[in-house]
């Protein structure tokens, strides 16, 4: 049983990070029906910028805040300079723009910062907690906590605030939303800003556990995307459940099956979902209106 809990803790920690990344995918998808493949780069910016701001002598908490803000600025820039001018381009065209943006950001990070690995100190120590014989790092608790708080905040934002409702309206029907006076362009912009912040937050939280690097966003972005697909693109709850499902499936596969095939697990899961259940666990069934 001990090992089961050990695998579960590993899966939950990694899964919560995937969930934060998946939330970014869902937010942007909701606002613009666009899949932003630069999402992983926000994670990289979160980690790398914190490291380099801290190295420049800024207090760590402030460095983390600045890093999140930097990711927001980059996300807004992608939307303003990449997505907005390409209005009317096909969905595939827009996706390619985001892939281009991701490659650009990665390249710039490698030049402006560096190509080395960097770590951050954990928020509250490295002394592991022992639960049911399995060990859990305090950093994992921080990750669970922050993910839960973010989930609640997002729920509140979408269910209770006018801005959130405007974003939901845009997600359901952009044209109708525009007709009732919602500035849908701003909605897309805000979704990018939020996605940037979420990604960067994931980057700040994971860096004490797994070092950051200018290319760290590639795999994390893909795993987050897988989580978003499994949960159902556009669903907040789905993103979180999807993240945890992928994280736990990977950990269990590594623990009970062959660890050599662990990486394949996430991708096998996406394939199964895309073929058998394309709308995901909590996604809306895609309806084509004529």
């Amino acid at each position: 049983m001990t090992e089961f809990f050990q695998f579960l803790f590993s899966g939950l920690t990694v899964g919560a990070i995937y969930a934060l990344i998946a939330l970014g995918f869902s937010l942007i998808y909701n606002a613009s029906h666009l899949i932003n493949f630069a999402q992983g780069e926000f994670v990289m910016i979160g980690g790398m910028a914190t490291v380099f701001f801290a190295a420049a002598g800024i207090e760590l908490p402030l460095a983390a805040v600045l890093a999140v803000l930097l990711a927001v600025v980059v996300a807004v820039a992608i939307e303003r300079l990449g997505i907005a001018p390409a209005k009317g381009t096909s969905a595939v065209g827009l996706i390619i723009i985001t892939i281009g943006a991701a490659i650009l950001i990665r390249g710039l990070a490698g030049i402006v910062w560096d190509r080395n690995f960097h770590s951050l100190p954990p928020i509250s120590g490295e002394e592991p907690l022992v639960i049911m014989g399995a060990t859990l790092l305090p950093q994992s608790l921080w990750i669970f906590g922050v993910t839960a708080v973010i989930a609640l905040l997002l729920w509140f934002f979408f269910a209770k605030t006018l801005w959130g409702k405007a974003m939901m309206a845009t997600a359901y029907n952009p044209l109708a939303a525009q007709l009732v006076g919602i500035d849908t362009r701003k909605v897309v912009l805000v979704s990018f800003a939020l996605a940037g912040a979420l990604g960067a937050l994931a980057g700040v939280l994971i860096t004490p556990l797994a070092p950051t690097h200018f290319q760290v966003g590639v795999m994390l972005g893909l795993k987050g995307f897988a989580a978003a697909i499994v949960g159902g693109l556009g669903s907040g709850l789905g993103a979180i459940v999807g993240g945890l499902v992928i994280g736990i499936a990977e950990a269990m596969a590594a623990g009970y099956l062959s660890s050599a095939y662990k990486d394949a697990v996430a991708f096998v899961i996406i394939l199964l979902f895309l073929v058998l259940w394309p709308s995901g666990l909590f996604g809306l069934r895609g309806i084509e209106r004529v």
Partner: protein
């Protein structure tokens, strides 16, 4: 003479003088070609290699060159692509007509060009790790870095000394990792070791506790980590988190201060084989590698203001092995230089003491590695 014409005159005089100097020095330059992964995923290897070559070619030329000939370095950046490596080596051989080639930061780039250099018959010193480069021996191909097999041998010898018999292995899915795992499996028997568990992790993984839990449950006395980069930190931290008993060994991929910085307290007690350069200042006074290592560190850090890495050391050794061979051959004739390279005896380099032979185009033994342990956030030289 007006101010203006005086200026023109002095410029002309200067130009003439420079021209004369040039003519006087016009002993044909010896052209050394190089192709390195200065950018791309292996940039952390290729960048210090490039800096080292440029630094020392300049130094050698400032001191009068080799046999009175200046060295000319023709260097291309492959971007860590074996395809680009092939293109650039063709250019080095056909267009730049270099006398010898140093390069190939990674094994992939090196293996891709071996056919070309063998056909063109130019001495080629690779800076890549794997043993396949020189095993079997290829007439024109040499290399300077220790092989991954030697690293495993060094680790296994230490395990045997510590009375360990049952071990676990953990590594990634990359070429370096796989080669290390393969060597570890092949060599275990000859050191009386039984491998109880072999676990793998994927590219970009952020947590290896499931794999290490399995290794722990297999009941092992020591674990060898076969990987590098971010994973070295994660595995070490997870190892400490799970409280595995028995020592964690790393291979030479972790011989960088970044590893200790990244893993922090979890790195304490980790043992690993590294090039002497890493602990040059801790080597005993009578160790011949001490002086070479310290001189290289001083020159590199003075020139670039950044910490040396063992990778730059490979380029240092390659350049001076080549220079030594040219001097002994009395010129840059490729065949004579190749023969001289193969007869290199007791060359004291940064990586170790080289003794080449027709059967061994690397010339280093396992003793070229030093066994280190992480203590108090720093390297401790053991033996």
């Amino acid at each position: 003479m007006s101010e203006r014409s005086r200026k023109a005159f002095s410029v002309l005089a200067g130009a003439l003088t420079l021209g004369l100097i040039h003519v006087a020095q016009a002993a044909e330059p010896i052209r050394i070609g190089s192709f390195l992964a200065v950018t791309g995923p292996a940039a952390f290897l290729g960048d210090p290699e490039k800096k080292t070559l440029e630094l020392y070619v300049e130094k050698i030329n400032a001191e009068g060159g080799v046999l009175g000939h200046p060295l000319e370095l023709v260097l291309y950046d492959t971007g860590t692509s074996a395809k680009n490596a092939v293109t650039f080596v063709k250019r080095l051989l056909e267009q730049d007509r270099v006398d010898a080639i140093i390069g190939g930061t990674t094994t992939g780039e090196t293996m891709a060009v071996i056919k070309l250099v063998e056909k063109a018959e130019r001495p080629f010193i690779s800076l890549a790790g794997a043993s396949v480069i020189i095993d079997p021996v290829k007439k024109w191909v040499f290399k300077t870095p220790h092989t991954d097999r030697m690293a495993v041998e060094k680790v296994y010898a230490d395990m045997k000394k510590e009375g360990v018999t049952e071990i676990g292995l953990i590594g990634g899915s990359g070429g370096f990792d796989k080669s290390c795992l393969k060597n570890a499996e092949e060599l275990a028997g000859s050191y009386g070791l039984t491998i109880k568990a072999t676990e793998q992790y994927g590219k970009g993984d952020t947590d290896m506790t499931p794999q290490l839990t399995k290794i722990r449950n297999a009941g092992v006395q020591a674990v060898l980590f076969c990987g590098f980069g971010a994973a070295s930190t994660i595995v070490t931290k997870n190892y400490a988190q799970l409280g595995l008993e028995g020592r964690l060994y790393h291979n030479h991929g972790s011989c960088s201060k970044r590893f200790i910085e990244g893993a922090g307290a979890a790195a304490e007690g980790v043992r690993l084989p590294c090039a002497a350069l890493v602990v040059a200042d801790q080597l005993p006074e009578d160790d011949p590698q001490r002086a070479v290592g310290l001189a290289y560190i001083e020159a590199y850090e003075a020139a670039y203001g950044e910490e040396v890495s063992t990778f730059g050391g490979h380029a240092y050794d390659a350049l001076f092995l080549l220079v030594g061979a040219i001097e002994r051959a009395g010129g840059a004739d490729p065949a004579a230089v190749r023969d001289a390279l193969e007869r290199t005896r007791n060359f004291i380099g940064v990586d170790g003491i080289f003794n080449m032979s027709p059967e061994d185009h690397l010339g280093l033994g396992p003793e070229a590695f030093k066994m280190l342990e992480v203590r108090g956030g720093n390297w401790k030289y053991l033996y």
